[in-house]
């Protein structure tokens, strides 16, 4: 037992989670020297953002990114952290707690923050391996150990948590089914209309949704084996390598109960967060206050403030529950609900439904006040509605137009933000108001979202308000924000890439000198960094019109071959989808002999590389290869490189689609296209994915039902696996989506930005909105791509080999020997 005598009071916290640690932070703010603090945590980790377990599961965040308090933080504040050791006993008489390991600590004040436990339904087979809940980092580890493309998952429970689990597992490539007892999804947050839109949108992502479905048993091969299926009460059976139970939570009161503290559903607390024992406080999901329990962080942050006030004696105000809003963290699904969204006979509804766009909004009014709101598909105005709801303000004239948002015709989203009152909440998780953020920006000279996050905690939890914080920075700093935020293309200009691209289109600038003139370049003819970028931007903006500037191309693109370290070149002909013929191989063999080419190698891109070709032989090499029908593989270009394929259903015993033919078709359609960086495609014939499609810029994986389309992968120094764009059924769709995606990338990414960093910058959702959700835009991008291709599909080797004057660049100008 720790018997050290200290002038400070001893605070022991049980539960190293979000509520407990937030309360400690609040205490440190009020009275940093009042307590010696010890924290017991049953989990082995430091305090992390539990909300972010969903993005962690989906692969959108790493564990490091969701840590809230690092070990250094505990050390810096002199807090003793005993992690991985659950408290098993509280002796309130002697004020000592004992942990499982036998470790004891004395307390003057005890804080219980034990959270809640997921409910586990007592179904037959629930103890099988592969059945788990979704509450902790350990649960996510367990899911990831069993997750993987081609495997199946069943999520029991179609509420917030269940759907986030389903979404994450779906992104991990699993076939996911959701089994939900009620007739509609998320019935505690959504009305039937919004729930149907949600169901449709999840189905489009490839999930199978079973509503009004009751689980009967979790089955395995034998009595004790791991789970392999879920049987429903109506007899249906669903394959399952993994079952996640997400049917609700129950306040974790066992320790408090055992030590005689008053509990009902939760640990009973008064308005000051004090339990029936005046030396024991409690906060978070484990408590019950005024007959209510809580399962979201917003009210928990309020509890932390109130508890800290009372424990330090800083203030005596009581906990007042406020309305909370809910958002679903499923990328690409916009959903918000708050208040009494179901309505009853005393309420009126205002409803907006735009089925084609998948937008639905419902405002529930009682006596001229907003009491409930549901937004689906478009949540830009959710913050404003939520504010009206919390203020309980009489609506008056607003009633007529409010369904359209705060500024019905605002083309500029920042205008809507500017209209918000200072008291309007921007960050729901942390309860940060617009006024607080603007004041912090002004007082501390904040410049970036990270600055604001560090100062105010706004956007530091679930992150869904990052755009709003950015908007407030823009409004507060005006031009200074864009200036500090935008990096110039290079030292020749003060403009950033995006601005240059915009001005090229908007100002109808059609040559490099035009651009440099109009945008006031600082140098006479740019540099090796901006000229290739401008050449590409002009080529992409004006297909068929712009005349390529060879002198603004890197050597490889100018020579149509890859320069090697000794000044010779390598030559790689195209092999469509990695296929070749005896005649092609014979022609390659002849060329190698004829020109004494020292090395022949199979590349990592499924084709043949001839290395060590002398510059002056290049044209003759190409002429001979062309004669056998071989064309340039663009292995040197910021261009379409390869489309790798596997053998697929033509030969492979597992193949479900003809991946080779699909790959050849894609390569035939896309070769010759220029891009901001190199672009690689791949097509696999089944989820075993032998063509490594999930580390390509655009990867296609065949399934029984059609094709999964993946985007934004690459190898290289920082390997990045793709994210699932969507699932489609026909070859024609694969083609349309692929070309539309490439066109969007060509038109919007910055030069030398590969698809992976581009998508990380814009967000997958942005790409999905343009390519998946908006069929009209997709078709027009597809057509634009085909139009540009009608000029781009010219074999550069044939051109160079046949054109006498241009070939001059391969020969010496004169010989003086």
């Amino acid at each position: 037992m720790n018997m050290m005598i200290s002038a400070r009071k001893k605070l022991v916290v049980i539960g190293n989670g979000m509520a407990g640690m937030r309360t400690v932070e609040e205490i440190l703010q009020r009275a940093p020297d009042m307590f010696d603090i010890t924290v017991f945590g049953a989990e082995p980790q430091v305090n992390y953002d539990r909300i972010m377990l969903s993005p962690l599961l989906a692969g959108e965040k790493s564990f490091e990114q969701i840590v809230l308090n690092s070990l250094e933080w505990y050390a810096a504040h002199g807090i003793e952290l005993i992690a991985g050791d659950a408290v098993v006993e509280i002796d309130r008489g002697s004020r000592v707690v004992t942990a499982a390991s036998g470790t004891m600590r004395h307390y003057d004040i005890l804080l219980l923050a034990t959270g809640s436990n997921p409910i586990v339904l007592p179904l037959p087979g629930v103890g099988r391996e592969g059945v788990m809940t979704f509450r902790s980092a350990a649960d996510v580890d367990m899911m990831l150990a069993l997750a993987g493309p081609g495997r199946s998952a069943v999520v029991i429970g179609g509420g917030l948590l269940g759907l986030e689990a389903a979404h994450g597992l779906n992104l991990r490539g699993m076939a996911v089914s959701v089994v939900h007892l009620m007739p509609t999804l998320m019935e505690r947050q959504l009305d039937a209309s919004a729930a149907h839109l949600l169901e449709r949108s999840l189905t489009q992502r490839g999930m199978a949704i079973y509503t009004s479905a009751n689980t009967a048993s979790l089955d395995g091969a034998d009595d004790t084996g791991p789970v392999n299926a879920v049987t429903l009460k109506d007899g249906r059976r669903i394959k399952a390598d993994l079952v996640v139970m997400a049917v609700g939570i129950r306040p974790n009161t066992s320790l408090a109960k055992a030590s005689g503290i008053d509990c009902d559903r939760g640990i009973l607390v008064d308005g000051g967060m004090c339990t029936s024992d005046p030396a024991v406080y409690a906060v978070g999901e484990c408590i019950e206050h005024d007959k209510a329990c809580y399962g979201l962080v917003a009210p928990i942050w309020d509890m932390a403030k109130v508890a800290a006030d009372h424990m330090t004696g800083a203030a005596r105000r009581g906990f007042v529950p406020v309305a909370t809003g809910t958002r679903l963290k499923v990328s690409g699904v916009e959903m918000f609900s708050a208040g009494a969204f179901m309505g009853d006979e005393t309420t009126d509804d205002i409803v907006l439904r735009d089925a084609a766009r998948g937008v639905y909004k419902r405002l529930v009014l009682r006596d001229d006040r907003l009491v409930g709101v549901v937004c689906f598909g478009d949540t830009r105005d959710a913050g404003w509605y939520f504010q009206l709801l919390k203020e309980e303000r009489p609506l008056g004239e607003l009633r007529g137009t409010m369904i359209f948002g705060p500024v019905s015709s605002a083309a500029d989203p920042n205008e809507a933000l500017a209209c918000l009152a200072d008291g309007a909440e921007i960050c729901g998780c942390n309860g940060v108001k617009k006024g607080t953020i603007c004041a912090a920006i002004a007082a501390h000279g904040l410049r970036s979202v990270d600055d604001v996050r560090a100062r105010t905690k706004a956007s530091a939890s679930c992150g869904s308000c990052t755009g709003l914080v950015e908007g407030l920075l823009k409004i507060s700093l005006g031009a200074a924000f864009s200036e500090t935020a935008v990096k110039p293309m290079c030292k020749c200009t003060s403009h950033g890439h995006d601005e240059v691209r915009r001005r090229i289109k908007g100002g109808i600038l059609k040559t490099i000198p035009d651009v440099m003139q109009a945008l006031e370049w600082h140098t006479p003819d740019g540099c090796a960094s901006c000229r290739p970028a401008l050449n590409f931007y002009l080529l992409a903006a004006w297909p068929g019109e712009y005349v390529d500037d060879a002198q603004s191309r890197f050597v490889n693109e100018r020579m149509h071959a890859n320069i090697q370290k000794d000044g010779t070149y390598s030559v790689i002909p195209r092999m469509w989808g990695g296929t070749t013929t005896a005649a092609e191989l014979r022609a390659i063999a002849d060329v190698v002999d004829r020109f004494n080419i020292p090395t022949v190698k199979i590349t990592g891109g499924q084709r043949v590389d001839m290395l060590g070709v002398r510059k002056e032989d290049l044209r003759a090499v190409w002429r001979d290869l062309n004669a056998a029908g071989l064309v340039s593989g663009h292995a040197y270009g910021k261009a379409l490189r390869t489309v790798k394929t596997c053998v697929g259903s033509e030969w492979c015993r597992f193949g479900v689609q003809d991946s080779t033919a699909m790959g050849v078709a894609l390569e035939k359609a896309t070769w010759g296209s220029w891009h901001p960086h190199k672009v690689k495609l791949a097509v696999s014939g089944c989820p075993r994915n032998c063509a490594e499609a999930t580390i390509k810029d655009f990867g296609v994986v065949a399934t029984e039902a059609g094709w999964d389309l993946h985007v934004g992968g690459n190898g290289g120094i920082k390997v990045r696996a793709t994210e699932l764009l969507c699932k489609v059924t026909t070859e024609a769709e694969v083609m349309e989506y692929a070309c539309a995606f490439l066109q969007l990338y060509r038109m919007e990414a910055r030069y030398l930005e590969r698809t992976a960093p581009w998508i990380e910058r814009m967000g997958l959702k942005y790409v999905q909105e343009k390519i998946v959700d908006n069929a009209e835009l997709r078709r027009s991008l597809f057509e634009d791509f085909l139009y540009a291709q009608s000029f781009a599909q010219v074999d550069p080797w044939a051109e160079e080999a046949s054109c006498a004057s241009r070939g001059l660049k391969y020969d010496a100008m004169a010989e003086m020997v």
Binding site: T523, P524, D525, G526, C527, A528, R531, P532, A550, Q551, S552, F554, V555, N556, R558, M559, I563, K565, G567, L808, K809, A812, M813, A814, E815, M816, V817
Partner: protein
């Protein structure tokens, strides 16, 4: 530069038009390849076609201002002095070159 041109044996190596603006061509000599550069401003310079870094062929680089960026690892070399710019250091030999009536003349030491 003028001093270098005096009393040299200039040889006609081709037409100015044979070199693209902002580009280069090489002349093969007993001393190795010599790169003749033509800038945007119409000036002509001659350097040994070897980067001081790892012998990259400077004639294949991108010409901008009075400098060329090497195609292999991106060093920038001054066409006037042959010196590497910025933080890099190294120098490549220069040769006397001039244009007259649309012809390019090179002098070897």
């Amino acid at each position: 530069m003028d001093g270098m041109n005096n009393a040299k044996n200039f040889i006609d190596v081709g037409g100015l038009d044979d070199i693209p603006p902002l580009g280069a061509r090489v002349v093969a000599t007993a001393l190795g390849d010599i790169a003749i550069f033509r800038t945007g401003g119409g000036e002509v310079f001659a350097l040994r076609d070897q980067c001081p870094h790892k012998q990259g062929p400077l004639s294949q680089g991108i010409v901008h201002g009075n400098a060329v960026t090497c195609p292999l690892h991106g060093w920038t070399i001054s066409l006037e002095t042959g010196e590497a710019q910025g933080l890099d250091s190294g120098c490549t030999p220069r040769f006397a070159v001039k244009t007259e009536a649309g012809r390019v003349f090179l002098a070897l030491p």
